[in-house]
């Protein structure tokens, strides 16, 4: 397992992408799969930065662990703070479709993208922390 800890600030999300790129490149993921994972992991970190506890509230770090396996990789993004709003999107329909422009939602795309780009997405929340568990399998 490889662990990374970043301050809960937007300026460090690119470091997570660089790290993920390095790890995923050593596994047999395709370029497209790695690009997909970069977006999904960034979405989880973005949520952690936006919804996690701020430094003043005593929670200013985000933990990211990368767990390579035979089948692929699981990435866990953990932060202190209450869970972010999470509606399991049960349909595969794109969220921005068949709606009047004026009614288009500006937010809520992050969780949709994570689910669309990863094979498994699990959000586990306790009172004080939230974990987003993202798994991607190496395609045959």
């Amino acid at each position: 397992m490889i662990r990374l800890q970043i301050p809960s600030h937007a300026d460090y999300i690119d470091i997570v992408r660089v790290c993920l790129y390095g790890i995923a490149s050593k596994l047999s993921f395709s370029y497209e799969d790695i690009e997909d994972m970069k977006v999904a992991v960034s979405e989880a970190c973005t949520n952690a930065v936006l919804h996690g506890r701020s430094a003043e509230e005593g929670g200013s770090l985000i933990d990211i662990s990368f767990e390579p396996s035979e089948a692929g990789i699981t990435i866990i993004v953990r932060n202190d703070g209450p869970p972010f709003e999470h509606h399991e999107s049960r349909t595969d329909a794109p969220p921005l479709q068949g709606i009047e422009i004026s009614e288009l939602p500006v937010g809520g795309l992050g969780i949709y993208l994570m689910e669309a780009l990863m094979d498994e997405v699990l959000v586990q929340s306790s009172e004080n922390s939230t974990e987003v568990i993202l798994t991607k399998y190496v395609s045959e």
Binding site: D14, R17, T46, L113, A116
Partner: protein
Amino acid sequence: MKSQQFQIDQQETKDSYMISLGGELDLSVVTQLRSVLEPVIDRVDLNLVLNLRELTYIDSTGIGIIVSILKYRDGINAPFSVKEIPPSIQRLFDLTGISGYLTEGTEK
């Protein structure tokens, strides 16, 4: 790493205002992008064009900004287009469905 850094170029012509983005567009550059958009978002006399040719990364943060520009420009009945979308970014536009609302810039 330098080449990945977010870049914004602006070019005003007689009837259009083009904002060209390069590098990685994520949460860390939202304020920067908004400050560039702010003075031109209300210009109904100009076609606002977002050129994404040099953009290497986008996520829901950037797509959310494009949605908000789209809604705002539609609301004031002003033209807005997105052009030169790289394939990897087009893929995310297709996944979210925003592609259906974007008109490719074909202005002179």
